[in-house]
């Protein structure tokens, strides 16, 4: 485990954290000598604000993308990367073009913000893993743009359109995580590091929650893009609700005193309830009542877009909860050691 990892997760080794007013000083054992080395992680308000803006912008982009799908406007601009043959001219924003081209413009903004964030992080950030994450975000946004283009060029094939939808929310999670990692609280807060000895661990539960949410996201996207029936998404909703409720209840009963865990757990539980209601409404407006609609109707558009947006918030909240659990409620240290190192004589 390198120094940067330790800086992110001080409880995972024999690291001692000392909080200062504007920086965390972490003392680490130097493998080369007995001297201690310190890493300062200064809080950078500008960088943090940019990460927050990117996260909010990405949320807006997800809503814009959901509007494109719900209004069946995905191919209203038939070319890519140009729009009606132009790189810069804004077409008349009427009909489906209003949704598709607005989505493209917001996506361009997200791309520019991501470039700015990646370069700025690379220049000022001392945590190497965060610098890498900045460029991982850039790589994700580029891949997302290419998927968006391919879905236009190949007339919305369900697997590509669904991958575009899933990667959008992955990028949103990265943006939200970067906003958290650059935040004052993350930088200056001293983790509680209460070892989790329950089985399955809360961290395992959060990882499982993320997994089932991803499956749910893909099933929902495949249904929206006509690649799958609605019932796998509805069946998996039961699994998602059960697992997320279990995770949230465990977090709230065992770690309610840790604010960094309690808040995302409460939010996650609230979002699960909201998402179930929205999912039911979306089912009614689209499957039950809107099956033979001659055009996308407003109740269907509103309920399906809200369902996508709250789904994105739910996934991001679960990712945040997992990270906070990893930080504040780590798995007992000895479990991470290889078998040979668990020998008491080795200890």
């Amino acid at each position: 485990m390198n120094e940067e990892q330790d800086a992110a997760h001080p409880a995972s080794s024999s690291v001692r954290c000392e909080s200062t007013t504007h920086a965390v000083v972490q003392t680490l054992p130097d493998p080369g000598s007995t001297a201690l080395r310190a890493i300062e992680i200064p809080y950078n308000r500008g960088l943090h604000r940019l990460a927050v803006v990117l996260a909010c912008w990405t949320f807006l982009l997800i809503i814009a993308g959901a509007l494109v799908t719900s209004n069946d406007a995905g191919l209203s601009v038939p070319d890519w990367p140009t729009s009606f043959g132009s790189w810069y001219k804004i077409p008349k924003l009427v009909g489906g073009v209003k949704f598709e081209h607005t989505h493209r413009m917001i996506a361009q903004g997200a791309g520019l913000l991501t470039i700015l964030l990646a370069v700025w992080t690379w220049r000022v950030e001392k945590r190497r893993w965060l610098r890498v994450l900045g460029f991982a975000a850039l790589g994700t946004v580029i891949a997302q743009g290419i998927l968006g283009g391919l879905t236009v060029l190949y007339y919305l094939p369900p697997p590509i359109s669904s991958a575009h939808a899933a990667l959008a929310q992955t990028f949103f999670c990265i943006a939200v995580a970067m906003a958290m990692f650059t935040g004052r609280k993350w930088v200056e807060e001293q983790p509680r590091a209460e070892v989790d000895e329950r089985r399955p661990t809360l961290f395992t539960l959060t990882l499982l929650s993320i997994f089932v949410l991803y499956v749910q996201l893909i099933l929902g996207a495949m249904f929206r893009h006509h690649g799958l029936s609605w019932w796998p998404h509805v069946v998996n909703a039961v699994v998602v609700s059960f697992l997320l409720a279990w995770t949230a209840i465990r977090a709230l009963t065992v770690y309610s005193q840790i604010e960094a865990i309690r808040r995302p757990a409460v939010l996650m539980l609230s979002l699960v309830i909201a998402q179930l209601c929205l999912g039911f409404t979306a089912f009614l407006t689209r499957v039950a009542w809107g099956r033979d609609a001659v055009q996308p109707e407003l109740p269907m558009v509103i309920s399906t877009v809200a369902h996508v947006a709250v789904g994105a918030l739910l996934l991001a909240t679960t990712v945040i909860l997992a990270i906070q659990v990893w930080r504040h409620a780590p798995v007992a240290f000895e479990e991470r050691l290889p078998q040979a190192h668990r020998d008491p004589s080795a200890a």
């Binding site: 406007a73 191919l75 209203s76 990367p81 009606f84 290419i146 055009q295």
Partner: protein, 261 residues
């Protein structure tokens, strides 16, 4: 090391963009009908004795209460004016319009000349005219835009090649054809999601679409035993067997029931 990675990354990105650009070129259909889809390579038509040909006509009815046509809201584009109603089931006094009627079976190995005159698909008032179109495989479909707004024409076939092209106001007609037989091939405009119509691509010239009174007529049919198919976009297909002799005029009526939910 980092520079090498960045260069490799840029190369990979360029390759992906080039792939996307190339694929677009391949997908973009030619503006005019391609030679292999037209009549140039088609075998000579089997001769039909005009003195013996028969006619089939009739009326298609809708049994049951006619559904109320859904109103369409076109307010999202000021270029679309006027009233608009869904045309998925059009019933006038029990007569069912927009049913595609064609000889599905019985012509054997006969071949037919592909007409050189194009069939016209007009976009006017942000609707397609006609709503149901019949065309022979390889025959040119001429698509016109008479609206003061841009449309895009996007057929979503199962057996033919998919394409999607925009057509601004006052632009020249787009000419396309479809190589393979396909019934109820959906065409839509992604800019105006209520705009939908169906093209029926057949291998013979014996087809018709019922008018507003539910009537159709198929002329010039050589004597023989045939299967006549009646296809409605929402109500499905119904077939009837018929035998026509030389110079016969037969009336074949058909009735559709409301679709079961």
């Amino acid at each position: 090391m980092n520079r090498t990675r960045m260069t490799l990354g840029m190369l990979a990105l360029s390759a992906l963009l080039a792939l996307a650009a190339c694929s677009k070129k391949e997908e973009t259909p030619a503006a005019s009908p391609s030679a292999d889809q037209g009549g140039a390579m088609a075998p000579a038509a089997t001769p039909i004795d005009p003195a013996t040909v028969a006619t089939i006509n009739g009326t298609v009815k809708f049994g049951g209460t006619a559904p109320k046509p859904s109103k369409i809201d076109m307010s999202q584009d000021p270029g679309c004016k006027g009233m608009n109603e869904a045309e998925n089931v059009v019933v006038n006094g029990g007569d069912l319009a927009n049913v595609f009627v064609y000889v599905k079976d019985g012509l054997g190995a006969r071949t037919f000349d592909v007409p050189t005159t194009p069939v016209v698909l007009e976009q006017q008032g942000c609707r397609y005219h006609p709503h149901i179109l019949g065309v022979m495989a390889g025959q040119t479909v001429q698509i016109k835009n008479s609206d003061p707004t841009t449309h895009n024409i996007h057929p979503t076939p199962k057996d033919n090649r998919e394409w999607n092209e925009s057509q601004p106001p006052s632009s020249p007609a787009i000419e396309k054809n479809f190589a393979r037989e396909e019934i109820m091939l959906p065409v839509k405009c992604n800019q105006h999601p209520w705009m939908k119509m169906y093209i029926n691509v057949v291998k013979n010239p014996f087809y018709a679409v019922t008018d507003k009174d539910g009537k159709y007529e198929i002329k010039g049919l050589p004597p023989g035993d045939y299967t006549i198919a009646f296809v409605q976009e929402k109500l499905g297909e119904q077939d009837q067997k018929v035998t026509v002799g030389p110079k016969d005029t037969k009336t074949i009526d058909q009735s559709f029931k409301p679709a079961a939910d």
